[in-house]
């Protein structure tokens, strides 16, 4: 069967990830790290401030003393001037938790010349490296119709090779069930943080529920949509049987110019829906196709300031 061969060949191509993280990739990552430090000098520190008031060293506010408070934090100078017992509050500093959620479903195996999955993994790895280098805690969670595996929270850029190894070996395939996967994710990860979702968002049940789950559980969703130019503007003609690579649904169509144009419009509309949704809820959103070099994308993300603050 010719089709079977085509499918197998696509799956094999996506499964072969040995060349993804070579020496050149490493150099690119280092370059990205240097650039990120220049671009965000002063903002990027090893720590990330939270709104939590706690035992930090940077003054945040005063509040009225209550019984039981630590006497050490009473501002005696103000007591002398105002004759009121006010307590000094400090911002508590803590590590940022970054969760890189990479879609590894079958639809991500499609793409020319680079499968979307490989592109997503390279972007994910780059973001992970920057996070590790900033002494944040980073975890990578591949997902399809379920969470197939996970790279536990790690810190320090020397962990990057473990990241590579994980991405090269993690299982891939299956349908896209974003809602179910995000539900599992928030259940398994009690510590809130930045949730970078890298996917094509081709979920027959829709993307809203999955992202909403992240929002509801106080994660900060960061939406990164990856698509292939050929799937946005397919070069098809004639009588075809279109097979969904995830569900296996077959649709017989006779592709005409007008049909292709309608499809392109529909694809664009779908992407715009995702973008509108993110805009509505002030979620960082990036859309990219696989022809844009991943390092260029990562820089764009940095410049937007949405990824690290």
């Amino acid at each position: 069967m010719v089709v079977a061969k085509q499918v197998t060949s696509k799956a094999n191509r996506a499964a072969d990830r040995s060349h993804l993280f070579d020496e050149r990739f490493l150099k690119t990552l280092e370059h990205l790290h240097m650039v990120s430090r220049k671009v965000f000098a002063g903002n990027l520190r090893a720590e990330r401030r939270t709104r939590k008031v706690g035992s930090g060293i940077e003054f945040a506010d005063h509040r009225t003393y209550a019984r039981g408070d630590d006497f050490r934090y009473i501002d005696w100078n103000l007591y002398g001037r105002l004759d009121k017992l006010l307590l000094r509050l400090f911002e508590e500093e803590e590590d940022l938790h970054i969760y890189i959620l990479i879609d590894v479903s079958d639809s991500m195996s499609i793409g020319q010349p680079l499968p979307k999955l490989h592109y997503a993994m390279q972007v994910g790895a780059a973001l992970t490296y920057v996070g590790l280098a900033n002494l944040d805690r980073v975890s990578i969670i591949p997902f399809g119709d379920r969470l197939t595996d996970r790279l536990p929270l790690s810190r320090g850029k020397n962990r990057i090779f473990r990241v590579f190894d994980f991405l090269q070996k993690c299982p891939i395939g299956g349908k896209t069930e974003l809602a179910e996967c995000m539900k599992d994710f928030v259940t398994q990860n009690k510590r809130r943080g930045l949730a970078v979702v890298i996917s094509d968002f081709y979920d027959p049940t829709g993307f809203e529920q999955g992202i909403n789950t992240l929002r509801y559980y106080k994660f900060e969703p960061f939406v990164l949509q990856v698509y292939d130019l050929r799937e946005a503007s397919p070069k098809l003609h004639g009588d075809l049987a279109l097979v969904d690579c995830e569900t296996g649904d077959t649709r017989e169509v006779t592709v005409s110019k007008s049909l292709l144009e309608a499809y392109e419009r529909e694809h664009e509309k779908y992407c715009k829906e995702l973008e509108a949704y993110c805009t509505k809820y002030a979620l960082p959103f990036f859309r990219t196709h696989t022809s844009i070099p991943f390092d260029e994308l990562v820089l764009r993300i940095f410049r937007s300031g949405g990824f690290l603050r």
Partner: protein, 662 residues
């Protein structure tokens, strides 16, 4: 409309139904599609749901595509039936169109303005006939002039026949209608519905019109059997007022070959008086001009006597219409005639004789020769004395080696005799028979000639030897043509010293006549040798010295060169144009060995009488016009159907690939 295709309607129906079913089935069966993997079929689903709103149009487009295919199939199958529009209800005919291309068809009265020739008018009418042929009709075009020439086979290809008709030109020869009718009858034998259409001016002599029969007549084998053949006539031509030269001859005087005599006969064929100027040319020089006034139908014979010979031997007579009433002439071909003067040459004659006064006296009175004389002894001592001589006369002497000149020999003997002689002499021969057709024996009577004895020749026809005079069955005067050399041998001696009673021939008028005839024959200057011939007649012309050749080149007045056969020194001559012809024979090695010039004239009162005939009566039957052709029209449709099918295929291809009908 009729269907003339090779497929029967029954078979065609089966094929049509089968093909239509195949086409419909091909549209009904599910198309095997190429599979293509997409990442998210939901998007396609949404698009297709929108498109399904146009499902009816989609179905319609598919139906249009099916209708396209069915229409293409229908057109091709319909074309296979060879549908033909037109009146093909009657039975198909076999038609021979006899297109008159004789000389009279050159008359410029094809239309009222005089700007179209009869042949052009005839061609137009013939093409109209061809274009009006029915679908099953087959036609052949035959050109009729002095010969009958089929120009095509039987065919229904009207454009090809039109092209053939366009290529026909009138010749300068009279028409030979019986020959053409015979050829047409032969061609139509055993063919269905035979029809002959004569497109002509009808200017045929009555003798020709009577040479046919409408019922089979076993006793009259010479008549053309037209039984069962429908013969029709399409007339052309309007005018009859022609004046033409119907005879033009020239001859030299026998006694004075330096002068010549010309005879011209002119006739007015019109119904009105005519006025012409007749000019006689010698080469390019006008010799005589005179004005002629001819009453209707009048013959005029003009004789020009004792005209001194000019430099050129080509004579031309030309009639010019005078610029007065009755001065126009629609037929120019017979206004000019050509003739050739026989060549004139003074021959050197060497007499080898012992002072024979009879011989010398007879030759001395002939002023067209230059005589020389030697004795046999002198000749034997120096035979080269004959070099440069045109003729050598041996009087009772036979040399060991014969010279290359032409010879007159009296009493040749021995093995060196040019014509073999029988051993022993014949005593008291009587001249019982002479070959009066031979030029040497012209006007010669030998009945009362006495000879005491004679040699008897044994002429061999294979060597060109012939007997001129017999004594019962024995040859006593013989002639021989040996290449260019000619020999006349007498078996007996002339009277001489000691032999006074050998013969009394020198006392007769026949003797100088014999000598002059022999010398003229040697010179090729025969009084009865014609150099002017009629066009359209096949003649056999003696070509001096062409004995070794079997063919000669005939150069026509227009420069066209054709090969003509030469048999026994006689060349076949057929002139299709008026003017001068050059006839030349070559040896196998390519060396010219003989040549002559001939003149050809129309010289046919029948052809010059160009009065057209609105009707034609053949052997008592008046020929009708072929009115059936006038309303017959047919048109083959298959080519248009195939072109339409091709157009639909292209349209279907374009609409399919532009995704219009898919």
């Amino acid at each position: 409309m009729k269907f003339l295709g090779p497929i029967g309607l029954g078979t065609w129906s089966y094929v049509a139904i089968g093909a239509a079913l195949l086409a419909v089935t091909a549209y009904i069966i599910k198309m095997r599609r190429r599979r293509f993997e997409v990442p998210f079929s939901q998007l396609w689903k949404r698009v297709l749901e929108q498109k399904d709103a146009n499902a009816l149009w989609k179905q319609l487009k598919r139906l249009i595509s099916l209708l396209f295919v069915l229409a293409i199939l229908g057109l091709v199958l319909f074309a296979a039936l060879d549908p033909t529009l037109g009146a093909v209800d009657r039975k198909a005919r076999s038609v021979v169109i006899l297109l008159d291309a004789s000389a009279s068809m050159k008359a410029m009265d094809g239309n009222d303005k005089g700007t179209q020739s009869r042949i052009d008018a005839a061609k137009a009418k013939a093409k109209r006939l061809v274009d009006g042929m029915g679908g099953g009709d087959l036609a052949m075009v035959m050109r009729v002039d002095g010969q009958a020439t089929p120009m095509s086979r039987f065919t229904s290809d009207a454009p090809m026949l039109d092209k053939i008709i366009d290529g026909i030109a009138a010749s300068d020869t009279p028409a030979d209608l019986p020959r053409a009718l015979g050829a047409a009858a032969d061609a139509l034998r055993d063919r269905p519905n035979p029809l002959v259409v004569i497109v002509s001016d009808g200017a045929f002599p009555q003798t020709q019109l009577g040479q046919v029969t409408w019922t089979p007549d076993p006793k009259n084998l010479a008549a053309i059997d037209l039984s069962g053949i429908d013969v029709r006539f399409v007339p052309v031509g309007k005018r009859s007022d022609n004046v033409g030269i119907i005879a033009f001859n020239v001859r030299r005087y026998i006694a004075n070959k330096a002068a010549y005599e010309v005879f011209i006969e002119i006739q007015n064929f019109g119904q009105e008086p005519a006025h012409r100027e007749l000019t006689l040319y010698n080469g390019q020089t006008a010799v005589d001009t005179r004005q002629l006034d001819l009453a209707p139908g009048q013959h005029i014979r003009q004789i020009y006597e004792k005209i001194p010979g000019g430099e050129d031997n080509r004579l031309r007579a030309a009639l010019r219409p005078l610029d007065v009433a009755g001065g126009s002439d629609p037929f120019a071909l017979d206004d000019t005639a050509y003739a050739l003067l026989p060549a004139r040459k003074k021959q050197k004659v060497l007499m080898v004789t012992q002072d024979n006064l009879f011989l010398e006296g007879a030759l001395l009175v002939y002023d067209n020769i230059e005589p020389f004389k030697v004795s046999p002894t002198e000749y034997a001592a120096k035979p080269s004395i004959s070099d440069g001589m045109d003729v050598v006369v041996f009087d009772d002497y036979t040399p060991d080696v014969l010279p290359s000149a032409s010879l007159i020999m009296f009493h040749p003997t021995g093995p060196t005799s040019p014509i073999a002689v029988r051993p022993g002499e014949m005593m008291d021969p009587a001249f019982t028979e002479v070959d009066a057709n031979h030029p040497v024996m012209r006007w010669v009577t030998l009945a009362d000639v006495h000879t005491d004895k004679t040699e008897v020749f044994l002429p061999d026809p294979k060597k060109g030897e012939t007997t001129l005079a017999y004594s019962v069955t024995d040859s006593i005067i013989a002639a021989k043509r040996d290449g260019k050399r000619k020999i006349v041998a007498f078996g007996f001696s002339l009277p001489a010293a000691g032999r006074d009673s050998a013969t009394d021939l020198p006392m007769k008028v026949a003797f100088p006549m014999l000598l002059v005839n022999a010398l003229d024959w040697f010179a090729g200057d025969q009084a009865d040798l014609l150099t002017t011939y009629e066009t359209g007649r096949r003649e056999r012309v003696p070509l001096d010295g062409a004995g070794a050749a079997n063919q000669a080149d005939l150069t026509a007045p227009d420069g066209a060169v054709t090969k003509t056969p030469v048999i026994d020194g006689l060349a076949t001559f057929y002139a299709s144009r008026v003017g001068y012809y050059d006839l030349a024979a070559k040896a196998p090695d390519g060396k010219p060995i003989a040549s002559m010039t001939l003149a050809a004239n129309l010289a046919s009162p029948t052809e010059s009488d160009i009065a057209p005939s609105a009707t034609l009566t053949l052997a008592g039957k008046k020929l009708e016009a072929p009115e059936a052709f006038a309303i017959t029209h047919s048109q083959k449709l298959w080519i248009y159907l195939v072109l339409l099918a091709l157009g639909l295929i292209v349209l279907e291809w374009v609409t399919y690939h532009r995704r219009i009908t898919v």
